[in-house]
């Protein structure tokens, strides 16, 4: 059943919940919780996220400070709360950028073929052959100190790391769809390339691309977290979770909860995304492509 008819069917409205696979439900619950938490953290936190001296530095868990305090006396839970929307927004924006570029390039490449396809694919292969973290670091260094730590750069890096991988998926889908007769019908009508790619091919690649999107989205927090951990992410004191883990890793013995808190947040987010993707792909009859 395709997505469009699925959504317009009465069954969808009546017992959507019952018809969805288990992982999808669990994933959706986790993601909704994360979303609410992020919205709440954006508007209100118990203490300011950069407020020093909220309590005695390095004191452990208490009702006032459920995740303790860090070295300079900032409330870790407040930072964690405020960081939630940053992680979500960066992941979402970065993946979206990769998706738009990758899909456009991939669908064109798969449909047009020929020299355009050859050149695009060689560039894409070159980029995929570099480990993604190394590629990300190279890009951050190339961007120069002026941009270092800016959210725009992170979004751009995530997008650029993802684009080649998404390009390949979109290209494979387009190549298969391009052989269908409704594409031939459009060609016989004299439709232009863009029109065929966006009217005929894109809607039919939507299933594959949607699964790809949510799969990529689930890896994005890890990528952003890793950059933050290595000190190439968001500029401090912005409480991005990876950065928080990095800041507090010296305290692992003295106050483990300051590291585990953000770590658990990151883990639950990624697990939520993965379950959601798994369920979604089952609903759409698609198989997610393994690997980052």
């Amino acid at each position: 059943m395709t997505l469009a008819t699925f959504i317009s069917s009465r069954r969808f409205k009546v017992d959507l919940w019952r018809a969805t696979p288990g992982p999808f439900k669990v994933g959706a619950v986790i993601l909704v919780a994360h979303g609410l938490f992020a919205v709440l953290g954006f508007f209100w936190t118990p203490y300011g996220y950069a407020e020093m001296g909220a309590g005695l530095p390095l004191s452990g868990i208490s009702w006032q400070h459920p995740m303790g305090l860090d070295q300079i006396g900032r409330d870790v839970f407040s930072r964690f709360m405020h960081g939630a929307h940053i992680v979500l927004l960066l992941s979402f924006a970065g993946t979206m950028l990769g998706m738009v570029t990758g899909t456009t390039l991939g669908l064109l490449s798969g449909y047009v073929g020929g020299w355009f396809d050859e050149i695009t694919q060689r560039i894409v292969e070159a980029m995929i052959s570099i480990p993604f973290l190394a590629l990300a670091l190279v890009m951050i260094i190339a961007a120069g100190p002026a941009l270092a730590g800016a959210p725009v750069l992170i979004v751009f890096v995530v997008g650029l790391v993802y684009a080649p991988r998404i390009t390949r998926i979109a290209r494979a889908a387009a190549m298969e769809i391009a052989t269908r007769e409704y594409v031939a019908v459009a060609e016989l009508r004299g439709e232009g390339t863009w029109s065929i790619v966006f009217r005929e091919i894109l809607p039919n690649a939507a299933n594959v691309l949607l699964v790809e999107f949510s799969l990529r989205l689930s890896y994005a927090p890890i990528l952003i977290g890793a950059l933050g951990f290595l000190g190439f992410g968001i500029r401090p004191p912005t409480p991005e979770w990876g950065l928080m883990i990095s800041e507090n890793r010296n305290l692992l013995i003295a106050s483990p909860v300051t590291v585990f808190g953000p770590g658990l947040g990151l883990a639950s987010l990624v697990i939520g995304f993965n379950l959601f993707t798994d369920g979604l792909s089952r609903m759409l009859g698609q198989r997610p492509v393994a690997g980052a």
Binding site: R180, E181, V185, G190, R199, N204
Partner: protein, 678 residues
């Protein structure tokens, strides 16, 4: 006669997201030892589900609710996996529908036959495995092809291999699931001949599942007609075909196009099988011409009416009563005045794959798949392009539509030469030629509503239409405005093809190219699309290039027929001439091989010079296969084109010579039997 297998009250349901659907309901029949039983019905009627159950096989989501299949005293449905494995292939064997996908592509076919014999330890005493395999191949009329891989064999040969595998262990029952559906008509006839021959020699029983009643006429003793999961009639084959007792059987038989010159009014069946719109009574009631109010509430069960016949219809007496056939004499329409020439194709040569730089340097060219085509189409005329698969019918259509630039040759529309490539043609030229594809599932974008599918060409070509345009075009093709907001997958195959036709008609084309548009549809649906096309032809005076493998369908509304063989036009003639006096040996072969509704014991005539094989582009493509070959002349020189008053014949034999010592059989007899040349 002794019963070999008996199916009693079989009920099978398929599980899905929406719960259980009853697919097979209360089916009971038996097959005697050595008997050939045919199971016929339209797609989705459950015939294959029943057939596979005879092998104890069902898909994972199917459930046998009640029923027994008694084979040799045991109930197959109660057997365990091991016992079934022992039985399958050994005592009950399957010949699958598609040999290309059912033979393992990476294994030599000899090894695959060996596997079958070895699994069941069925090697006869005192015989080596190699000898047995060669013997089996000889039995199905193959040379020793054991060392070949499946792709090295033709479709017909592959099907012979699967038959050899099936009979390897001398089974008692052979289950055949549409074994000739994908084959050309001449090959199809050879397979049928082979099966009849094997039955006579080995004496096994057969269950032959097909949608093609004409095929069953050639091979089956008794036939069961299935509708919506129920057997509605079981009768001896001849009796069923001459006097069907169930309204559905009657409609099914009437749907089969024949060339007896009769135009049956309102022939065939109306509506389609909708499992969601079943009445509590007779399943066929919504589509039945004989239905009364009682039919809607009273379930009909299969009851014996004569000693050999059972029918599930209380009004069978009215149905079986002979009707005076409405014979409408075919008018030989004389076109008044000289019609305008719409399309002319001159000296067309086509090949796939453009030569690369190296090929050009070395002077290599890829071989032409279509050679020297000259064809003309007049305004409002329907020309059928007929030939076996791979003869280049669709390739020619692709060239005319611009999807395949020809190597040489000119295509003119209304006297103006069309650009060879699609991108060089003007919008107006594109509008004038509309293409309808074979498979309506693939030619409608599944993610767009019908409204958007139909509106797009109007927007694209900038045609000014009134608001009612979409509704009126839907009405034209027999649908209504309610379809506009549906997605293609909510429509049946026939409805989708109607939408595809509507889309083409919306832009007022001068030429419709219909590429096998009927072959993906059920017989009853085909019959109604033919009606539609015929009415469109009369109403809109649109010219059509109708590509088909089915001469019988073509004769219902084509004006002229072009017969294509291996990329060359063999004959062009008006339809009446072609059927009455085919003249060309290839046309004769096609007409003879097509099965009719009577058993004809057809045996194909052997080629006159089987050794002198045709070389593409040199001699006549039919050389080596032609029963009337003159000698090596045919293989070595191109046959001359002999122009007649309404077409031409390409043959070395002169037209009067072809007419005089024609084949032993009478031509008018073939005309009654013509069906398809797939």
């Amino acid at each position: 006669m002794q019963k070999l297998i008996e199916v009693r009250n079989l009920n099978i349901a398929y599980g899905g997201a929406a719960g259980w659907t009853n697919v097979v309901q209360g089916v009971s029949f038996e097959i005697a030892r050595g008997e050939a039983f045919g199971l016929v019905g339209e797609s989705g009627c459950g015939k294959s589900t029943v057939a596979y159950r005879l092998l104890g096989y069902g898909t994972i989501n199917s459930l046998v609710q009640t029923g027994e299949i008694i084979f040799d005293g045991t109930d197959l449905l109660k057997l365990g996996a091991t016992a079934l494995t022992r039985l399958r292939g050994d005592r009950i064997a399957l010949v699958p529908q598609n040999p290309t996908t059912s033979l393992s592509p990476g294994m030599r076919v000899g090894t695959q036959v060996r596997e079958m014999i070895a699994t069941h330890r069925a090697l006869p005493q005192g015989m080596t495995m190699e000898a047995r395999i060669v013997e089996l191949f000889a039995l199905v009329g193959l040379p020793d092809v054991g060392h070949c891989y499946p792709h090295e064999l033709s479709g017909g040969q592959q099907q012979r291999v699967t038959i050899a595998m099936a009979v390897a262990c001398n089974p008692d029952l052979l289950v055949l699931d549409e074994p000739t559906t994908g084959l050309d008509v001449t090959t199809q006839r050879q397979i049928i001949q082979l099966l009849a021959d094997l039955r006579a020699r080995i004496g096994m029983a057969m269950l032959y599942v097909t949608h093609d009643l004409a095929l069953l006429a050639q091979i089956a003793d008794r036939v069961g007609v299935m509708y919506a999961g129920q057997l509605v009639e079981v009768a001896p084959c001849e009796e069923l075909l001459s006097a069907p007792a169930h309204p559905y059987s009657r409609g099914l038989i009437a749907s089969i196009p024949t060339t007896d010159g009769a135009e049956r009014q309102g022939r065939g069946l109306r509506g389609v099988l909708r499992r969601d719109q079943m009445s509590t009574g007779c399943k066929f009631e919504p589509r039945c011409d004989f239905a009364t109010t009682a039919c809607r509430t009273m379930p009909q069960v299969l009851e014996p009416v004569t000693d050999a016949r059972s029918v599930a219809c209380m009004r069978w007496r009215d149905v079986v009563a002979p009707q005076a056939p409405v014979l409408v004499k075919r008018e030989n329409k004389k076109i008044i005045g000289e019609p305008a020439r719409l399309l002319s194709v001159a000296d067309l040569n086509l090949s796939y794959g453009r030569p690369g730089l190296f090929d050009r340097l070395l002077g290599r060219t890829s071989p032409s798949v279509v050679r020297d085509i000259d064809l003309e189409l007049y305004a409002g005329e329907v020309v059928a392009l007929v030939g076996e698969s791979g003869s280049g019918k669709s390739t020619i259509a692709r060239a005319i539509s611009g999807r395949l630039p020809p190597r040489t040759g000119i295509i003119r529309l209304d006297g103006a030469a069309l650009a060879p490539a699609l991108k060089d043609r003007s919008v107006e030229e594109l509008r004038q030629i509309q293409y309808i594809f074979q498979n309506p599932d693939a030619s409608l974008n599944p993610r767009r509503r019908i409204r958007s599918i139909l509106e797009r060409p109007i927007d694209h070509f900038g045609i000014k239409v009134d608001e009612k345009a979409l509704e009126s075009v839907l009405e034209n093709v027999g649908l209504h405005a309610g379809y506009l907001d549906r997605f293609p997958e909510q429509l049946s195959g026939g409805e989708r093809q109607r939408i595809a036709i509507a889309r083409a008609l919306l832009v007022n084309p001068k030429l419709l190219i219909c590429d096998e548009i009927l072959s993906a549809l059920d017989v009853s649906v085909q019959a109604r699309i033919v009606e539609l096309l015929r009415s469109l032809k009369e109403k809109h005076a649109v010219a059509m290039l109708f590509i088909s493998h089915d001469l019988a369908v073509v004769q219902e509304f084509a004006d002229r027929v072009a017969v294509l063989y291996r990329g060359e036009l063999m004959q062009l003639a008006d339809i009446a001439t072609l059927l009455d006096a085919p003249l060309h040996p290839y046309t004769e072969m096609l007409l003879e091989a097509a099965p009719g509704l009577r058993r004809d014991h057809y045996v194909s005539r052997p080629p006159a010079f089987p050794v002198s094989k045709a070389i593409p582009g040199v001699g006549c493509p039919l050389a080596g296969r032609c029963p009337r070959q003159v000698g090596s002349l045919c293989a070595e020189t191109r046959p001359p084109v002999q122009v007649s008053d309404n077409g031409f014949i390409r043959c070395h034999l002169a037209a009067d010579e072809l007419a005089t010592h024609a084949s032993p059989a009478d031509h008018s007899d073939f005309a009654g039997q013509v069906r398809s040349i797939s």
